[in-house]
Amino acid sequence: MNAYYSELFSFHLPEVILTGGALLVLAADLLLGKFSSEPVRRALAALLGMLAMGFAAEALSPYLRGDTSALGQLCLLGLSGLTLLLIAGTSRLRHPAEHVALTLFATVGFSLMVTANNLLLVFLAFELSSITLYILAGFDKSSPASAEAALKYFLYGSVAAAFLLFGFSLLYGLTGEIELAELGAKLSVLPASPLLVIAWIMILAGFGYKAAAAPFHLWAPDAYQGAPAPSAALIAAGSKLAGMLLLVRLFAEIGFSPLGPALQTALALLIAASLLLGNVAALVQSNFRRLLAYSAIGHAGIVLLMIGIAPADPQMAFGDVLYYLLTYGLASVGAFGVAAVLEANDARGQKLSDFAGLWQRSPFLTICLLVFILSLAGVPPLAGFFAKFNAFYDVLGSLDSAALTSSPFFWLVLLAIAMSAVALYYYLQVLKQAFIAPAEETRPLRIALPATTALLFAAAGIVLLGIFPEHFLRLLF
């Protein structure tokens, strides 16, 4: 092994460990699976998966100080780890080893997305995570809804990938570079050209799909509804965090200064559409997961708002997006976890009315759901509130304070605030069922230990991040 390879190896040690872990999970299942029952296989796979995550996190730890992307990778590992716990604790699907291995591969994809430094790697990482997630979305072979989710997610995803690739190829065509740093340097001296605009619009469309921003959101409600709960959690949490961190980095490295206004208008349109469509459509949902999907579209609007300031202050945008989507991811994983526990007990947990009487059946689950939903709604002292306030504060702070009202972002912040008041209505519809409605089914809920651990970690994370936000944000600067 020469010096170049060993350098590459040590730089990508976390990914190597995760990949090795995935292969180990598959191999162990192949060797031992014949002699053991399904639950034992699932436990073994999840245990090996968690170990791989742990070692990967250990490999990251030397870089945590001063390297923001390492922190991003760590957060992604955390979210994926919670998903693994959900698989271990709530899933009854067949092929547990493949389920765990694919989750690990998806994490490799996320991790590469955060560190990729050239267009080729960006695209490959994007696809690595996407293809894994298509499979995971269709993992429940007994459910037609799962197949539908996978198909829709796949069709929209492949079109989005094509857009992204087209955009990248235009960037390459303009500069002859694929390394982000050199690409940015060359673009900065190029005159603004329609080609560049088209390239960026293609790229935005690709990432708009990843973030489920309107009008590229059509897959989201069906995928959230049909996919198995752990896969949906991964799509909602890890995939979104990785995609948006990558977009911030692209903006930060390449920048869109030569064509500011045109692209800002495009971004502003995406934001306004996502905020309005997501929050208004969520008002009429009676399915818990579709409600989460539409609320995710609304949140995507706020995330894109933060990305709008990335060219001006990439470091701040990276920190804000990371904090926002970490707390959002914890709350989503938690909410899907609660639904998964219900489904594991009752074989239903999709409709809002399936949550009726949760307070009688499991106070623990009710409190967790309360924390997750209120954090999504942005109620203090939970982290969702601080994430939102911090985002708005930084967005407004980055604008020219003398001409504040002439910037579209000022009005978008106002729209986002107004929409957060609207959003409380539908979030309370969930809590109304869980906390107020009488139970139709009074059997107490049985929660497996891994699921309890996952929910506890997510809830504690949200509370602690909300009360001590600065302790987290300070790691970034």
Binding site: L26, L102, I135
Partner: protein, 179 residues
């Protein structure tokens, strides 16, 4: 000469790709796809990358598409049933098409839209291929060399991508045992 050949092959690719989508017979679709991939290979030749062109035709138009055809024949897929398309969908598609074509028109007609030596004179080396060390042009050795040095990581990732796809296919298509 090179220009007119490019336009010929590009037109062929587009027509063939369109045929893949509209054809109701899967075998015909697959044939159309072969034609489109051959067009890509031809364009590689025109770009002075004969090795890539050969690979494209050998691997994609040859091996991969033969596998496709093999599977289609094996499964004996019928003609696709005629699905009525609601007019709103057609309208939406047409609107998207119009927007997209408008964007392309703007792109082509816009002032200094395409990079010419004049408007990138600030960085003359920025033209595509200008700093290309011939990695893709002069045959298998240099091609392989850059793949396993400079592009080591992408190659590995692409390899794992295929592994993942394989795991997915095996898992999803495996028959459920009746419990």
């Amino acid at each position: 000469m090179v220009d007119s050949l490019f336009y010929f092959f590009a037109a062929m690719m587009l027509a063939a790709a369109l045929f893949v989508v509209v054809s109701r017979n899967p075998v015909n679709s697959a044939m159309g796809m072969i034609l489109a991939l051959v067009g890509v290979g031809a364009n590689f030749f025109l770009l002075d990358a004969p090795f890539l062109g050969v690979l494209q035709i050998l691997v994609y138009a040859g091996a991969v598409m033969v596998l496709f055809l093999f599977i289609i024949m094996l499964l004996d897929v019928d003609q696709a049933a005629k699905i009525p398309v609601p007019w709103t969908t057609v309208l939406f598609g047409l609107v998207l098409l119009a927007v997209f074509s408008g964007a392309v028109w703007w792109l082509v007609n816009g002032a200094d839209a395409l990079p010419t030596p004049e408007n990138v004179s600030a960085t003359p080396a920025a033209l595509p291929g200008a700093e290309n060390p011939g990695a893709f042009t002069s045959g298998a050795k240099s091609f392989g060399y850059s793949l396993f040095t400079k592009y080591m990581l992408p190659v590995q990732i692409a390899g794992f991508l295929l592994l993942i796809a394989m795991i997915g296919v095996v898992t999803l298509s495996k028959k459920q045992k009746q419990a």
